[in-house]
Amino acid sequence: MKNIVIGRFIPGNSFLYKMDPRTKIIALIILMISAFVLRGFMNMFIALGLILLLLLLGRINIIRVIRGLKPLMFLLLFTFTFQILFNETGPVLIVFEQEASWTLHYSWLNILAVVGVVFFWFFTRRFVRFRLLYLVATLVGSIALLINLQLGYVFNTGDLTIHQNAVETGFFIMMRLIIIVTLSTILTLTTKPTDLNLGLESVLKPLKYIRINTEEMAMIIAIALRYIPTLLDEANKIMLAQASRGVDFSEGKMKDKVMQIVSLLVPMFIISFKRSDELANAMEARCFVPGNPRTRLHQLAWTYADTITIIISLMALASVITLRVVGINV
């Protein structure tokens, strides 16, 4: 749990912290679109460089962001591998065709076997010391399976060829994911959950024209933010209380596991219902009426810096589109 960086606010002090949450959200959306439009190795690296610069200027711990990217590693490597295996467009880069043993066999059972290996990896990885090595071994093993197994009806075979488009597309998908996740991490690292909520409410306000009440949504999110730590704390206490009655959460057969989970969930539900009932009473007693107009203590203040940020983001988008239209995809 401790390594989850996405979605967590870390107190700090830089221009990124002082920025209006609305600005950050809008800029994030614009830059995300830009990342999707962007093509070309050089351009990608320039974009990544700019983001690094932003991290440095915003005094954000880069190691922390990289740690946040770690859970994505699996997704990144797999999209890349699948591109290489299945994308057969564009000029061929490398062919392993000299020997027949490099032929890949695609059948449903083969694919199922690969999925099985991946699952095995997923559940056993926490027991292994060198995780990255284990992941690479799993990927190589999966390819080896496709080469060596010929289970059931093989509907397609192909030499293990690596095409230029596969490498390019795989690389672009990876880069875009990294850029998007890094940008979102910047947003959540530098914005208090309450401010983020306030910003989202404000940005989503136009939704009221399609009859979605953003204020109520914001209130629900605010209450959730307030009570998530309390509920986690409570879940922990329930676990301890059941452990005191001999429930051993680290052991037990499948049948026991079900009972263990029931012994956690039932008290959790009952306590949460009681809590929400009392909270609703407390809110009502203090004159809260859903849907009634309210004034707000926290109000967002738009400054010049915010306007400039939006303009810069828009300029980034414009230049990316220009590059694409002009055809500079280096």
Binding site: P193, T194, A222, I223, L225, R226, P229, T230, D233, R275, E278, L279, N281, A282, M283, E284, A285, R286, C287, F288, V289, N292, P293, R294, T295, R296, L297, H298, Q299
Partner: protein, 268 residues
Amino acid sequence: MNIIEIENLSFYYQADKPVLKDINLTIKKGEWLTILGHNGSGKSTLAKLLIGLLRAKSGTIRIDNEELNQNTVQSIRRKIGIVFQNPDNQFVGVTVRDDIAFGLENLSIPREEMIERIETYAQKVSMSEFLNKEPHALSGGQKQRVAIAGILAMHTDIIIFDESTSMLDPKGRRMILDYMKTLNDEGVTIITITHDMKEAVLSDRILVLKNGEVLKMDTAANVLKDKITLEKSNLELLLPLKVINRLEEKNIKNEELRSYLWQLSLTG
């Protein structure tokens, strides 16, 4: 002047199991009333009726000359606030500041005035330096003080304390009792709901509830004296009174000691 008038108030969830039966009660402005009763006597239900969280099956409640009904409930809730038992389940805001602001936001108080009131009332309950703290960094007593500030900031003139001290440690409890006293001295009408005699004797009058019915309604001193009522309602005698009773039983006449013990029990 009566600030609360209750006439023939009854409430039940199932018609054959009444929770409150035919309650009549008037509370004067600036008075401190205790509603005393054992667990399940209906005392918390009475509080919920007063603040319009439940609707009476029969009878009327008038608060500040306004009859409580569907149309008036919002304006009545501006006059009467409640501090509940569990400090955690009434803390709405993410920080102390946000929590005090919650009621004010609901009343559509302009932002500048809101900031002013938050400062004033946080100071009143000595929570000024905690304004940016989150609830998990506060003790139960501190959370209850925030709840009091949140109500005072709405310029409410009646506060109900529904067993607000029962989940606190001795220090937190003493502090909340001190605030009750201070507020009452400043003219706030106070209603405390409790089963603790020591808390009850601090108030002006005591209403003793048993199984939804009024067993006795009198000054704190007269209720204290009434052994039969207290026994009937499963409440305990204060220790000095136990001594007085013992002396009477043994027919020992020591007037000086008796009146001393009596004074002692009145101070809690």
